[in-house]
């Protein structure tokens, strides 16, 4: 799959947590790139390693987490080779991050203005007065009403949606080249979600940034992303542009996810589910990690891990079904998934 010039390229990233139970591979050989000015969605269940991937890029992993291997290239620079103080000049300046919980991601004892201004004071060395003036501009940009008043407001005085707007203002203050949004709308109710997503998308175009959107919500992906990587148990199982992924999903897990979305066009008594549980990261299956839950799984799937292969010029899939070595019957994953699962 050929992409235009990419802003960030992650190759074979391996991030592990070293606990008393031994090594836990949270991210295990993940590769992707974010094309310049585009949005990559990273989708997966809790514990699939999507947040750890973003923290690895920011080099913000807490002990006992460690980046074990791989390469992260940001605009041609090797991020993993950078010193901590070099990283600090990148964080919040060239790569920014929005967190999931707007309620707790703001320091309760400082005003919104102070917290936006902090970015400018750290990265541009501005005085507090100058920084606050620029902060006011940011608040206007993210569409907070009466921004002059809000500048002096404390986080507890704002609603969740307003706080997330403030978080976005903080993240975008220094006009970053890449924005990593980690579940930016999960804690918000649906109408506010739509507003925030529209805001992020609008600002992305206006400022020309690239974005990595981490979410478990396929609806959000469909609305905002250009490319999608589906993660399962620390590995990418499918990578495609957003239209292809929704129209012709290839991996059984992707198909399962899409089919478990509630549909409004047909009468449903019961929602479809993917049976079983995500494997525990300290007890991963030997073969394909989805095999225990996959309705098509064969012996080959249980014994050997498939690789992420291009199956046409649009999709990359990690599944034996699309490989010459496939030992099961001929299947069309998308059409046969439901019948296979109910068997």
């Amino acid at each position: 799959m050929e992409n235009p010039k990419s802003i960030i390229k992650v190759e074979e990233l391996q991030t592990s947590f070293y606990t008393h139970k031994g090594e836990i591979k949270a991210v295990d050989g993940v590769s992707f790139d974010v094309p310049s000015g585009k949005t990559l969605g990273i989708v997966g269940e809790s514990g699939s390693g999507k947040s750890i991937t973003s923290l690895s890029i920011m080099r913000l992993l807490e002990d006992p987490g460690k980046i074990k291997g791989g390469k992260i290239t940001f605009n041609g620079e090797d991020l993993l080779a950078k010193s901590e103080s070099n990283m600090r000049t990148i964080r919040g300046n060239r790569i920014s991050m929005i967190f999931q919980e707007p309620m707790t991601s703001l320091n309760p004892v400082f005003t919104i203005g102070d917290q936006i201004a902090e970015s400018y004071m750290i990265h541009e060395g501005l005085s507090k007065k100058q920084a606050l003036r620029k902060a006011l501009g940011m608040l206007e940009l993210v569409g907070i009403p009466s921004p002059k008043d809000r500048l002096k407001a404390y986080p507890h005085e704002l609603s969740g949606g307003m706080r997330q707007r403030a978080m976005i203002a903080i993240a975008l203050a220094c006009n970053p080249e890449l924005l990593i949004a980690d579940e930016p709308t999960t804690a918000l109710d649906v109408t506010i979600q739509a507003q925030i997503l529209r805001l992020i998308n609008g600002l992305q175009e206006e400022l020309g940034m690239s974005m990595m959107l981490i979410t478990h919500d396929l609806g959000v992906v469909a609305e905002t992303c250009d490319y999608v990587a589906v993660m399962y148990a620390g590995k990418i199982v499918e990578y495609a542009d957003v239209d292809t992924l929704f129209k012709s999903p290839k991996h059984p897990y992707t198909v399962g996810l899409l089919q478990s979305l509630p549909r409004h066009d047909i009468d449903q008594d019961e929602l479809n589910v993917i049976k079983g549980m995500v494997p525990r990261p300290d007890d991963l299956p030997e073969g394909c990690r989805f095999a225990p839950r996959c309705p098509f799984a064969t012996r080959l799937c249980e014994e050997k891990l498939p690789s992420l292969d291009d199956i046409d010029d649009k999709n990359q899939v990690r599944c034996w079904i699309y490989n010459d070595q496939w030992d099961g019957p001929e299947v069309n994953v998308k059409d046969d998934y439901r019948t296979a699962q109910s068997d």
Binding site: D63, L106, I122, G161
Partner: protein
Amino acid sequence: MPETTVNVSTQNTKRINPQLENFKTMWRKLKTNRVAMAGGILILFFILVSFIGPLLTSLDPNSPDVSSRLQSPSSEHWFGTDNHGRDIFTRIIHGMSITLYIGFSSVAIGMVVGVFIGIMAGYYGKRTDAILMRIMDVFLAFPGILLALGIVAVLGGSINNVIIAIAIFSIPVFARIVRGSTLSVKKLEYIDAVRALGASDARIIFRHILPNILSPIIVQATLRVATAVLTASGLSFLGLGAQPPTPEWGAMLAAGRNYMWEYPHIALFPGLAIVAVVLAFNLFGDGVRDALDPKIKS
């Protein structure tokens, strides 16, 4: 671009600084606690006395007056005189500033060092934490007065050495409390958020963690002053602190010991003064602790 969302609930509200608000709530609760308020008023009174008291007494606290030795309390000498004929009331008034000086400065030093060690241990964790806190544990293993005794014995007896000794044994108490609070604040998401903003460790520690862990530090500091005063008097009583003729209460108590049976007032009044100061700080400190405890609603 998004349309403007109007959020009615947050409009035109008065700006409230949550930290200031915390202290206001604390003050409201504290006001209803009469015992604590009594302690607080006493503390203010003592501070006042230590500043203007010496100006109001005409007698010299240190020069002996053989003609008026060992007098019982009278209208002329309110608390009587000691074996050198010095007015005990005057000496206690003059001793007030010494007592408060020792109490406040030793706690201040102990607090600054202890908070620093505690934050470092809590924030950096791992080996830094292990090493710093094991050292603190060693200090904590000694009973406070014994440790202070040892330090003063090594450094030599003087008021400044007493301050150093008390400061040293206050350090681990602050370090422990601060480490615990730092650990809990460090895990909050907004700390991750400022780190993702590119903030340096120093900035995170002093700008984002410290303001959020002030309450336990304040409570501990208030209570520690009482301990410091008591220990300082104890050291002086044992002859290791203030040297005669300094009007230090512990030293006065020690001097009065020999006349205990015939002239109990010589030892009694310095003793009562110590009790009053310690009690005032303890009552006030307890009150502040209760007032800052969100679980206790008044």
